[in-house]
């Protein structure tokens, strides 16, 4: 793996590898010294063209726990607001010696552009591009689900997949990169995904996605769901009327107190409620649901740091690309195979 751009082209093997590595990273958070020296001397740039608190902080915490140096770059207050192009920004970062670029951009495909060109020779991690993908969010969701699913099955989560798990994703699918990334990744891991949304909030071509689509949340719940993921209603991206009123949205597609009670009456005692945050309490999720023992919202935030540590470690720890490393490797006394590293 050279970059982490999308979950659509992530193989099962690589997905499991990231999740398993994250399991080991999670253990570091429980230690006295919450730091590993693995990425000492490496520089990670957080390049954020769009507002984000939790994703940026999560990446920053992950990089710092691996001892990397972190440079935060927010488009607001930088030369981007003076009209600098992505190419010039990237070349500037390359000249400063960035080893990894974590990029969030309002334009779908910006991270792919950065990875495909020779503007910068660094690992690129997509931290959300437009309405396209948000792979680390999907990975942390899958990590949270896998821990739950493995616990129910009584097996260790390391090495496991999500075979047979029924996942429903409800809300603003049209604007949600989280939903897209989750659909691809969960399919790869063997889960059955149902998207639940009003027809106005579903993208064109959704019928070709590897999932089922429903317009009725109660009907989906009645069929049985193991993980219920609510998506944020993205007011800032809505330039048209997608539903009549927020009250109607909340009643038909929000996870309210009645639906929380319905989980018990339907006998779904192990169903978890997920939300990628930030939550609009009272709109897509009620406070009672968000704070119930079923809610994994805070676990998702915690797991996000582990997943991002795993991604940074796997992308940055391999052989360095500088020619300086090859002279070292040419000396037979200095090379050890994996089996023979004594």
């Amino acid at each position: 793996m050279r970059h982490l751009l999308s979950t659509e082209d992530l193989s099962l093997q690589n997905a499991i590898r990231i999740l398993d590595t994250a399991e080991e990273m999670a253990a570091v958070g429980e230690r006295e010294v919450k730091k590993l020296p693995a990425l000492r001397g490496r520089t990670v740039v957080n390049l954020f063209f769009e507002d984000s608190t939790r994703t940026r902080i999560s990446f920053e915490a992950a990089a710092k726990r691996l001892s990397a140096d972190v440079i935060n770059f927010a488009a607001k207050g930088s030369s981007v607001s003076k009209g600098e192009s992505l190419k010039d920004t990237a070349q500037t970062l390359a000249a400063m010696g960035a080893d990894a670029v974590v990029i969030r951009h309002w334009a779908s495909g910006a991270p792919h552009r950065l990875a495909a060109t020779d503007w910068i020779d660094a690992a690129v991690i997509n931290a959300g591009d437009g309405t396209h993908e948000h792979p680390t969010q999907a990975l942390l969701d899958a990590f949270t689900m896998r821990r739950h699913w493995a616990k129910l099955a009584g097996i260790p989560s390391t090495g496991a997949d999500l075979q047979g798990m029924r996942v429903a994703i409800a809300g603003d699918v049209l604007h949600s990169r989280v939903a897209r990334s989750n659909v691809w990744l969960l399919r790869t891991l063997g889960a059955e995904v149902t998207l639940v949304a009003p027809p106005t909030l579903l993208p064109i071509g959704v019928e070709k996605w590897p999932c089922t689509v429903s317009f009725d949340l109660d009907e989906t719940l009645a069929k049985g769901v193991d993980a219920m993921m609510m998506l944020r209603v993205q007011g800032e991206r809505m330039n048209a009327s997608f539903f009549p009123t927020t009250r109607e949205y909340s009643r038909r597609w929000g996870f309210d107190d009645n639906r929380l009670r319905a989980l018990d009456t339907l006998g779904l005692k192990d169903t978890i409620i997920m939300h990628p945050g930030p939550m609009n309490r009272g709109l897509e999720i009620s406070s009672a649901a968000a704070d119930s023992p079923r809610s994994t919202v805070l676990a998702q935030v915690r797991n996000g740091v582990s997943i991002r540590m795993a991604a940074l470690y796997l992308l940055l720890s391999g052989e360095t690309r500088e020619p300086a490393a090859s002279s070292h490797a040419a000396n037979p006394n200095a090379t050890y195979s994996h089996q023979e590293s004594h």
């Binding site: 590898r17 398993d20 590595t21 399991e23 080991e24 990273m25 253990a27 230690r31 006295e32 010294v33 730091k35 590993l36 020296p37 693995a38 691996l66 390391t158 470690y313 796997l314 720890s317 391999g318 052989e319 360095t320 490393a325 070292h328 490797a329 037979p332 006394n333 200095a334 050890y336 195979s337 994996h338 089996q339 023979e340 590293s341 004594h342």
Partner: protein
């Protein structure tokens, strides 16, 4: 490829029995002992040693003194090697603070793994004493590190490879396990 068996199953077992008794002798008993195996093959060796220590001293619960210490993230060659996935670190319930920790690995070579293990250990707690037990010491040290307990000192050339194949980690049909072989790579 020329391969030569240097330790067979019985040799490994005898060496481990001796090391188990040496550990007890050096520690004047079993109090505060913790055995930490370094993945992958150090861990099964630690489990075997703990069983032998428990056999020699019935007050010892073998499962309660053995653990695994992953050193991957502390290596000094991370940027010169293909990416290695980390293994789990599992400490005994009693922790390692004020304990006598014996690090256990299969082969001692450059000493760099043990350097990484010492760093990893210090991030986890503060043992009273740290000792090192290895099945094979093949020489060619690159750091000032030595083992306290050695199964066999094996003079080798650095062009040779020493392979330890254990039942727990290397069970593939047709390949003999529980033996140590030297492979000459010309």
């Amino acid at each position: 490829m020329l391969t030569r068996v240097v330790l067979n199953q019985a040799d490994i077992d005898r060496a481990l029995t001796r090391i188990a008794h040496e550990i007890l002798e050096a520690n004047k008993g079993s109090q505060d002992l913790v055995l930490l195996g370094i993945p992958r093959r150090g861990y099964p060796l630690a489990v075997r040693l703990a069983a032998k220590i428990a056999a020699a001293d019935p007050t010892v619960d073998a499962a309660a003194i053995v653990g695994q210490l992953d050193v991957t993230m502390f290596r000094d060659d991370l940027s010169h090697q293909p990416t290695r996935p980390p293994y789990p670190t599992q400490l005994p319930r009693t922790g390692i603070d004020n304990k006598v920790v014996v690090l256990i690995d299969d082969v001692l070579y450059s000493g760099r793994t043990i350097r990484a293990a010492l760093d990893a250990l210090i991030d986890l707690g503060r043992p009273r004493i740290v000792r090192l037990a290895v099945l094979i010491d093949r020489g060619h040290r690159e750091l000032p590190i030595r083992a306290d307990h050695v199964g066999k000192n094996l003079p080798t050339s650095s062009s040779e490879k020493v392979r330890v194949r254990l039942e727990e980690t290397d069970s593939v049909d047709g390949v003999p396990v529980n033996e140590v072989v030297i492979e000459a790579t010309a």
